[in-house]
């Protein structure tokens, strides 16, 4: 681990015993979702069946229904599109802003820094109603652009704050060398700073992607056509007919909807952790 190596002791068995309930608590809902998504309807809705496992034969019917008879594939594609572009916008804008605040001196940089932080006091829960009107009047209602342009309002401040920390740890000499060599600020940023700050950037990409993939409120309010929805809104609003819920497919949708994130963070677990901790500890 990082500096200090403080406090890490080899734990006795009791630590593993004590942590077991936490692990169980964390994982049980997923287990339950998987089991429910593989249960046949008769067993699923049978009050006398045992909820913890499948006794009457597992079935892939809910997954098949989800993938062939609902708009789930479209939602998946939409979410991928929105998330990818959100990452591009919010990471690029964040890199630029972070570098400016961390390294450049000019009138208003402090104000800008404070302004970035103040945006957290105006969360989506506050803005969604007027923003819905604005988005609609811009003609973006029911399009992925409504999301691609509004998600960065949350992500740019976060990325800025995250990357500021990384940029500040880069020795000034490296940048000064580049400047003396005739690079302008942008070139310095691209050629010298970014390669060194790559871990931070990977982190920003991961967080931005996760946020966009998981977002619900703006997506709910800005997009209402079935074919345009993202996974979170599609699964929670369209797997019903009037007043009948398709529970098996709902759970299946939940599982498949989570897969990309799980895959991403299995590969990049350390980046997630360092991202979560980076800002807080360096901060």
């Amino acid at each position: 681990m990082s500096k200090g190596a403080g406090g890490r002791r080899r734990g006795g068995a009791w630590a593993y015993v004590a942590i077991a309930p936490f692990v169980l608590f964390a994982l049980f809902p997923f287990y339950y979702m998987i089991v429910t998504s593989l249960k046949g309807d008769p067993e699923l809705y049978n009050l006398d069946a045992i909820p913890y496992w499948i006794s009457e034969g597992a079935t892939l019917r809910h997954y098949a229904f989800l993938l062939t008879e609902t708009l789930f594939p479209r939602w998946f594609a939409n979410t991928l599109f929105v998330s990818a572009l959100t990452v591009v916008v919010s990471v690029i804008v964040g890199i630029l802003a972070a570098y400016a605040v961390a390294r450049l001196r000019f009138r208003g940089v402090a104000t800008f820094g404070v302004g970035i932080f103040i945006t957290y006091l105006v969360p989506p829960a506050l803005l969604f109603i007027p923003l819905a009107i604005i988005v609609t009047q811009l003609g973006l209602s029911d399009t992925p652009w409504a999301l691609i342009l509004t998600y960065p309002t949350f992500l740019v401040p976060f990325n800025t704050w995250l990357l500021m920390g990384y940029f500040r740890t880069i020795p000034r000499e490296i940048e000064e060398c580049a400047l003396i060599d005739g690079c302008n600020r942008l070139q310095t940023l691209l050629r010298v700073v970014l390669p060194v700050a790559l871990p931070g950037i990977v982190c920003a990409i991961l967080f931005s992607f996760t946020f966009a993939w998981n977002e619900f409120l703006y997506s709910l309010v800005f997009v209402s056509s079935g074919v345009k929805k993202t996974i979170t809104v599609g699964v929670t609003s369209e797997l019903i007919r009037g007043d009948i819920y398709f529970w098996g497919s709902l759970m299946a949708g939940g599982i498949i909807g989570a897969v990309p994130i799980v895959v991403a963070y299995v590969f990049f677990l350390d980046y997630y952790v360092s991202g979560l901790t980076g800002g807080a500890v360096k901060g």
Binding site: A15, P29, Y32, A100, A125, L179, V233, T277, V281
Partner: protein, 293 residues
């Protein structure tokens, strides 16, 4: 001289996109929300200026007052639980060396998965007819009748706190863990040579050095929890009898579903002074702590 102005030029250029975004998609909507809230505006039908009438009326409205209480209970309850349990979990994670990645991964899972989707699973777990919790209780002989998880105000409030804690605990645990790991071993060794026992080492070395990290995490989490939407919207829709409504869900119901935009705007604007207050209070607390050291 030239270097300075090109630095400034670069500076302004670099922050321009972010500034445009923030002014246009945060500042402007905020202004619009303020405008809506001081008028009587319905969808497709702008209305007259009413001054502070909406706020005054809301302050005296039973449902709104209940929402304020709900939000405070929810935020304080959830954040307190996350902080305590997160600390415990972090201490445990410190001691885990085998299967470290696997266990940390499992712990982190609830935080990275889309909340909207995992809330569905919790909803099914609390569902009146099919709740697995009730089933288990009955099977173990602990329950004789079903527990009305989502129909009793206290239980419903507890249920949403449980889901929020389930989701947010990893954030606390992992961040506090990083804070713990960053404490140099020498401090503990020094304390031990001074004759300090385990509890004293914890109190005098661990706690003070983790406090700044804890402070930041608590601050972030308080803001995000107070502004939560997904869990309540999907699991209880504010019920039973409005006992789980948060500002965001009440604003959605009163503003969007019913078309009365000014109402929704006024309700959600109450969040702003609350969040400002939270930030001021917590920053002051953190500063006071570090001042003592």
């Amino acid at each position: 001289m030239r270097a300075l102005s090109s630095e400034a030029a670069a500076g302004y250029g670099f922050i321009a996109p972010a500034a445009v975004l923030i002014v246009g998609l945060i500042g402007f909507p905020f202004g619009l929300a303020l405008w809506f809230s001081v008028t009587e505006t319905w969808v497709g039908r702008p209305g007259p200026f009413v001054g502070l009438a909406n706020f005054v009326r809301l302050a005296g409205n039973g449902t709104f007052q209940l929402t304020l209480v709900n939000s405070l209970l929810y935020t304080i309850g959830a954040v307190a639980l996350k902080a305590v349990l997160g600390f415990i979990l972090a201490l445990l994670l410190l001691r885990i060396t085998r299967f470290e990645k696997l266990i940390r991964g499992a712990i982190l899972l609830p935080f990275v998965i889309p909340t909207a989707l995992s809330t569905l699973a919790w909803w099914w777990m609390f569902e009146p007819t099919y709740s697995v919790l009730n089933w288990t209780g009955r099977a173990l002989g602990l329950l004789t009748s079903d527990v009305p998880w989502l129909s009793d105000p206290t239980l419903a409030r507890s249920a949403i706190i449980v889901v929020n804690v389930w989701r947010g605990l990893p954030f606390f645990a992992i961040t506090i863990l990083a804070g713990l790991v960053a404490i140099p071993q020498e401090y503990y060794e020094a304390a031990e040579t001074d004759g300090a026992g385990a509890w004293q080492r914890f109190r005098n070395v661990t706690l003070p050095l983790v406090k700044p990290v804890l402070g930041i995490v608590v601050l972030f989490s308080t803001i995000l929890t107070m502004a939560d939407f997904n869990i309540v919207y999907l699991m209880t829709r504010g019920g039973p009898m409005n006992s789980t409504h948060l500002f965001s869900t009440l604003a959605h119901q009163s503003g969007m579903t019913s078309g009365r935009l000014s109402e929704g705007a006024a309700i959600s604007l109450f969040l702003f002074p609350l969040l400002v207050l939270i930030v001021i209070v917590q920053l002051r607390l953190v500063r006071r702590q570090t001042a003592y050291e």
